[in-house]
């Protein structure tokens, strides 16, 4: 197997750069808030730039034609090192980092959203030092999950994220922060147990923890084994996505978390669930994947409709956006269950664009919350008169969320519908019902926009100030990405296409 190795171990650099940031911040004095903020900004900026380099490197490697070798089932990866570094030789654990078309866009998104979130976090006032230290540690975990190709490493990064997240919600969160933080932590940990069981089962069957190796050997897993281990992994990933009915930690965590953490939670952490399914479950257990396609699609369908309807019932703006995530991630599940190129590409598009759009929506919710100290939709009204720019940006992302063409949400929804209609794994009625979600989404987004921004101006908010430069700076890149992908989806598809082709070929054999 020929593999493409980076000249420098970029993924390692990306992953551990924020860790240096953590150490640097710990050395700073608690009082020097400005220095801490800019240190954090710097140490999230560097991996962001490196992730752009990774994107470029990946693209240029694709140009060489070496990356996708037809005879190589797990082609499409660029690696940090020629060979996985030996870590614990006694138990066959390696330090193995690599990225392919699934993870490169995700690493880029992580870099971007983390960088943006650091700026969003500039409004955090107390215990700044700890906050940014935890935040950068969280970033390490996120990058790690998307780059690790050894199960041991993967699991470590997966678990590493929980701790900072727990503290970020539990210390800097809203009134019910402790409940939310514990719920998030325990719920995810509960899922992780199943993943650990799955990993151990694989390890005792094959004796390796190398994920690519495990994919390569997928023919030797018996049908029953596949069904059970797939289910175990699925519980872990489904909780993270979250797939209905494992979703109730999400609204609580989102509502209580500080703005930047909500951004990361919606933008990256949820994607780890779907990423995990596509990276682990689908290629390792092709038999089970096909067998479980119908339940996955149905869970996706329920998520779409249920999430949209429950969103419509929300009175709290942040909770509305949180439940809309349940609905939008439902589209991801539907798309991947199609197990064809359009469906899975649609799922990946949806992952990316949901990260961008919902991230931006959470930032905007934070902007208004910081000024008004309330998130109750009914408390606002007619803000369009007073805050035209903020309204304009909010409406833009609202429209992106409801899948308006020329914005990225449409491309992914369209691909998912076409893909899941073209599938052989489940019936058409699932798609027909899922399309209803489009109207429901339009319903709750428009209702929210109307009640917040249109109508008579509520004079109570005379004192509200317009969105400021820093805040515009944080949402501008997201707006550009949304429009860019919506108009010219090739920019994203070029990364995904061959990898998705490989993946589908692998599953369908």
């Amino acid at each position: 197997m020929e593999s493409i190795t980076m000249i420098k171990p970029i993924l390692t650099y990306i992953t551990f750069c924020p860790l240096i940031g953590v150490l640097a911040i710990l050395l700073l004095k608690k009082e020097s808030v400005g220095a801490i903020r800019w240190t954090a900004a710097f140490f999230s900026f560097v991996p962001f730039i490196l992730s752009i380099y990774l994107v470029w490197f990946y693209l240029s490697s694709m140009g060489t034609g070496l990356l996708f070798d037809i005879n190589n089932q797990t082609a499409g990866f660029v690696f940090d090192f020629e060979k996985p570094l030996v870590w614990f030789p006694q138990v066959n654990i390696f330090y193995h980092m690599g990225a392919d078309g699934l993870s490169v866009p995700m690493i880029f998104l992580t870099g971007l959203l983390s960088f943006v979130s650091i700026f969003v976090s500039f409004s955090i006032k107390d215990r700044v030092k700890e906050y940014f230290a935890w935040f950068l540690l969280l970033e390490v975990g996120m990058f790690g999950v998307f780059s690790a190709l050894d199960f041991f490493l993967f699991y470590i990064f997966w678990e590493i994220m929980l701790v900072p997240m727990y503290f970020l919600i539990g210390v800097w969160g809203g009134p019910r922060r402790e409940y939310a933080a514990i719920k998030f932590f325990l719920y995810t940990l509960f899922g992780s147990v199943f993943m650990l069981i799955g990993i151990l089962a694989l390890y005792f069957t094959t004796g390796t923890l190398n994920m690519l190796e495990l994919i390569r050997q997928n023919a030797m897993y018996s049908h029953l084994f596949q069904m059970w281990v797939f289910a175990g992994f699925f519980v872990a990933f489904a909780i993270k996505v979250p797939v209905w009915p494992f979703h109730t930690w999400l609204p609580d965590a989102h509502v209580e978390a500080p703005t930047a953490v909500s951004v990361i939670l919606a933008g990256i952490l949820l994607k780890m669930g779907t990423y995990g399914i596509l990276r682990v479950s689908f290629p390792m257990f092709p038999e089970a994947t096909k067998a479980y396609a119908v339940p996955i699609a149905i869970l996706g369908l329920i998520g779409i409709i249920y999430g949209a309807l429950v969103s419509m019932a929300q009175k709290d703006l942040k909770k509305l956006v949180a439940y809309s995530s349940v609905s939008h991630m439902g589209y991801c599940m539907l798309g991947m269950a199609a197990i064809n190129t359009i469906g899975i590409s649609g799922c990946l598009f949806q992952m990316f664009s949901h990260g961008v759009i919902t991230g931006a929506l959470f930032i905007l919710v934070g902007v208004i919350y910081e000024r008004a100290h309330t998130r109750e939709i009914a408390a606002f009204g007619g803000l369009g008169v007073k805050l035209p720019v903020f309204t304009g940006i909010f409406v833009l992302f609202g429209m992106a969320s409801l899948g308006l063409p020329t914005l990225s949400g449409f491309v992914s929804e369209f691909m998912i519908f076409v893909g899941s209609y073209k599938t052989v794994f489940f019936d058409k009625w699932i798609v027909i019902l899922a399309v209803l979600g489009v109207v429901l989404t339009a319903g709750y987004i428009l209702r929210m926009i109307q009640r917040m921004f249109l109508g008579q101006f509520n004079t109570k908010w005379e004192g509200l100030t317009e969105i400021n430069g820093r805040e515009i700076f944080t949402v501008a890149p997201l707006a550009i990405l949304t429009i860019l992908i919506g108009v010219y989806p090739k920019v994203l598809n070029v990364f995904l296409k061959d990898t998705v082709d490989n993946l589908v070929k692998l599953i369908l054999g």
């Binding site: 309807l309 019932a313 073209k422 599938t423 052989v424 598809n493």
Partner: protein, 733 residues
């Protein structure tokens, strides 16, 4: 010019972007720039029209938008092409492929069996689309005698491509011109109408975006791109209908428009998915070609027809056809020039345009054609009946639009492609005129209610005259444009032998004439009923009246291009398949004229002569009047059956989410806590109790037994003695 015709759409987009980001500080620059852009688009459209007139063969230009591998795709295989690089100008070879991996085999019925025998001769035949060729069709011509040019094919072997592109044929060219001229005039008119509005620059930004979306829709070469612009049109009309969003009623109307049309769009979206599933392509020319030449296998045809019906749902929503017509009258809350644009050239025209573009798909099944025609006819009647009794000048016009759109749909359903699109064009002019003139009236008297108007013709000479011209035109009076286009529709219905439709059409024509002249008489003639408003009334400024005059001229003349006796008229330019138009029928024309005149006469008798008063009629037919006045209670019906149940259901689901699902999660936590509590108790009292008990025991004994450890030898000796005594006793016993 043709390859660059996307510029026509891009110019208003440029105006939008520049206004939003840079020009919005200055109202003047924003509006002038926007107008300049749309007028440039108009000039370019004229150039395109001239070029297309010169060479009417359709042109298409494509770019790849998305490419996928085609693994795991079911449905029809794709027809893909291998281009031979050195002979790219030659007609590409077609490779029908059924890409069906093994596991898909059980999926019955979806295999593709295409017999393509396109040798060069055949292709030469069908390339001559422009020429009117009546040669007997070869074996793969369908019953409709369609002939289409070989379209471009997309994609390579083993890949699935979604291309986007533009497609220019005579209909496109005509629509481009109509849209850009109406949009241009509306923008000029708005200079006066919107003067002093605090969001003036933004208004022009929205108008530009609206124009861009509609021009894009017209240029779109595939249903996917069409859907993209379709939604943008929906968005911009949402923004414009709710432009005065401080009024709740306006923002409600915008939302209603968006959501109602979105329901139709579901059908469109699903139809697209099915179309791509069944045919593997959504390109307009490719689909037409494949259908016309029987390249879609028999067993897939029903699926394509279903896709067609679903996509038609989109047209029903956008063109406000029954049962999704409820949003259009509410859309009157937007500024009046916006209404003119929505009703004439953009939003509602989009639906008819789509239906016209789908002609090939509609014509697959007789049933579907009947569905389309029936929906059109019923809507025409429904809206006309409501229009009879409304008092809001804009609402009457709105219902007349719905009714006229019904006509167009009916014509399309009766295979009258030429008639439907012709009426779309003439209607665009006179309806824009009607709305702009109504706007001029509203601008003068500051009310929409015709009960407070009257006698305005003395004060507003130009407005009243142009309104009269438009009313005559829409009523179908010879020789105004409405006469020719309406008659074309009647001729189609007559020739096809669809007499029920013909009767409905003529009946509705009479009703149209009646309510339009009711409107005219009540507004412009007689004594002013509101003295105050009358005194303040004045003719509108030049920038509003000039567009009126231009539109009046168009309302008179635009129909002349379609006079049936013309040697090369509209019907030999815009047609579907082969040139064909219904033969002119003088008797039919006379009947329609008589019906229209009697409608006008009746209005004259009631509202000018007052021989019979409207009140008396209203009283005599009280139930019918109330029924009509309340718009057949559609809003109430939808409220009770759809909207309120949805709201109820969402609340129930939220409760379910909180109580049941989250309840289970929390319950799980509680159970865990409870178990741990029991464990803790067990631990404290039993396990730890045992440990502590052992410790306690030793402590206890230690504490008490140490007392005998006195250190006195005498005491120890005593114990030894006592012990010895005890043992002795035991021994003895």
């Amino acid at each position: 010019m043709l390859p660059y015709s996307w510029i026509i759409a891009a110019l208003p987009l440029l105006a939008f972007i520049l206004i939003v980001f840079f020009l919005n500080r200055s109202n003047k620059i924003s509006s002038y720039f926007s107008i300049a852009m749309v007028l440039t688009s108009f000039v370019l459209s004229c150039i395109v029209l001239v070029q297309v007139l010169d060479d009417p063969a359709p042109k298409e230009y494509w770019v790849d938008w998305l490419t996928f591998g085609d693994y795991g795709m079911s449905g029809a295989g794709q027809i893909t092409t291998e281009f031979e690089s050195d002979e790219s100008h030659q007609i590409p070879k077609l490779h029908p492929e059924t890409i069906e991996p093994e596991y898909e085999r059980h999926e019955s019925g979806d295999t593709l069996d295409i017999a393509i025998d396109n040798n060069a001769e055949d292709l030469d035949d069908i390339t001559l689309i422009a020429a009117i060729h009546h040669e007997e069709p070869s074996e793969h011509d369908s019953e409709h005698h369609l002939s289409f040019k070989e379209p471009q094919r997309h994609g390579k072997k083993g890949s699935f491509v979604i291309p986007l592109g533009i497609y220019i044929d005579p209909l496109t060219a005509i629509m481009l011109m109509v849209v850009s001229i109406v949009a241009g005039l509306v923008q000029i008119y708005s200079l006066g109408y919107m003067k002093g509005d605090p969001r003036f620059a933004r208004y022009y930004a929205y108008l530009s975006l609206f124009t861009f979306s509609m021009l894009g829709l017209v240029l779109a070469g595939s249903y996917i791109l069409m859907f993209v612009f379709w939604e943008l049109v929906g968005l911009t009309s949402y923004l414009l209908i709710g432009f005065w969003f401080e009024k709740k009623i306006a923002s409600d109307a915008g939302k209603k428009a968006f959501v109602t049309t979105k329901i139709g769009d579901l059908g469109f979206l699903l139809g697209l998915a099915i179309l791509i599933f069944a045919v593997g392509s959504a390109s307009l020319p490719e689909l037409d070609y494949m259908i016309a030449n029987g390249q879609i296998s028999e067993n897939l045809m029903p699926l394509v027809a279903i896709a067609g019906i679903l996509m038609f749902c989109g047209a029903v929503g956008k063109s406000a056809q029954f049962p999704l017509h409820v949003w259009l009258p509410d859309a009157m809350e937007g500024p009046t020039p916006v209404s003119a644009l929505i009703h004439a050239a953009t939003m509602v025209a989009a639906g008819v345009y789509l239906a016209a573009r789908m002609m090939g798909i509609i014509m697959i099944s007789e049933t579907m054609m009947y569905v389309v025609a029936s929906i059109g006819a019923f809507t025409a009647f429904l809206a006309a009946s409501i229009g009879l009794v409304q008092n809001d000048i804009k609402r009457v016009l709105a219902y007349s639009t719905v009714s006229q759109l019904g006509y167009m749909m009916m014509a399309l359903g009766l295979a009258g492609f030429t008639a439907g699109t012709f009426h779309l064009m003439t209607h665009a002019f006179f309806k824009a005129l009607l709305f702009l003139a109504a706007g001029s009236v509203i601008h003068a008297v500051h009310t929409n209610d015709i009960q407070y108007m009257g006698g305005l013709s003395k004060k507003m000479k130009i407005t009243s005259k142009t309104f009269l011209i438009a009313s005559l035109s829409i009523s179908g009076i010879f020789p105004l444009s409405g006469f020719w286009s309406k008659d074309e529709i009647f001729a189609v219905a007559f020739e096809g032998g669809h007499y029920p439709f013909l009767v409905v059409g003529i009946l509705v024509a009479g009703m149209t004439a009646f309510y339009m002249f009711r409107l005219y008489f009540l507004t412009f003639t007689g004594e002013p009923r509101d003295k105050h408003a009358y005194e303040h009334a004045h003719e509108s400024p030049k920038n509003m009246t000039v567009p009126l005059i231009i539109l009046a001229v168009l309302s008179v003349c635009a129909g002349w291009v379609g006079i049936p006796w013309l040697y090369k008229g509209y019907s030999s330019f815009v047609f579907y398949g082969a040139v064909h138009h219904a033969d002119p029928n003088i008797i039919l024309m006379l009947i329609s004229l008589i019906v229209a005149s009697s409608g006008i006469g009746l209005a004259y008798v009631i509202y000018v002569k007052k021989t019979i008063t409207a009140e008396a009629i209203g009283r005599a037919f009280k139930p019918i009047y109330t029924f009509l006045y309340n718009k057949w209670y559609f809003d109430e019906l939808y409220m009770a059956t759809i909207i309120n149940p949805t709201y109820w259901f969402m609340e129930v689901l939220f409760k379910f989410d909180q109580l049941v699902i989250d309840g289970i999660v929390n319950g799980f936590g509680k159970v865990t806590l409870f178990t741990s509590w029991i464990h803790e108790r067990f631990d404290t009292y039993v396990v730890d109790g045992a440990v502590n008990g052992a410790g306690y025991m030793s402590m206890f004994f230690g504490k008490h037994i140490r007392k005998i450890q006195t250190g006195q030898l005498q005491t120890y000796a005593l114990f030894v003695f006592l012990g010895a005594v005890v043992f002795m006793f035991i021994k003895l016993i």
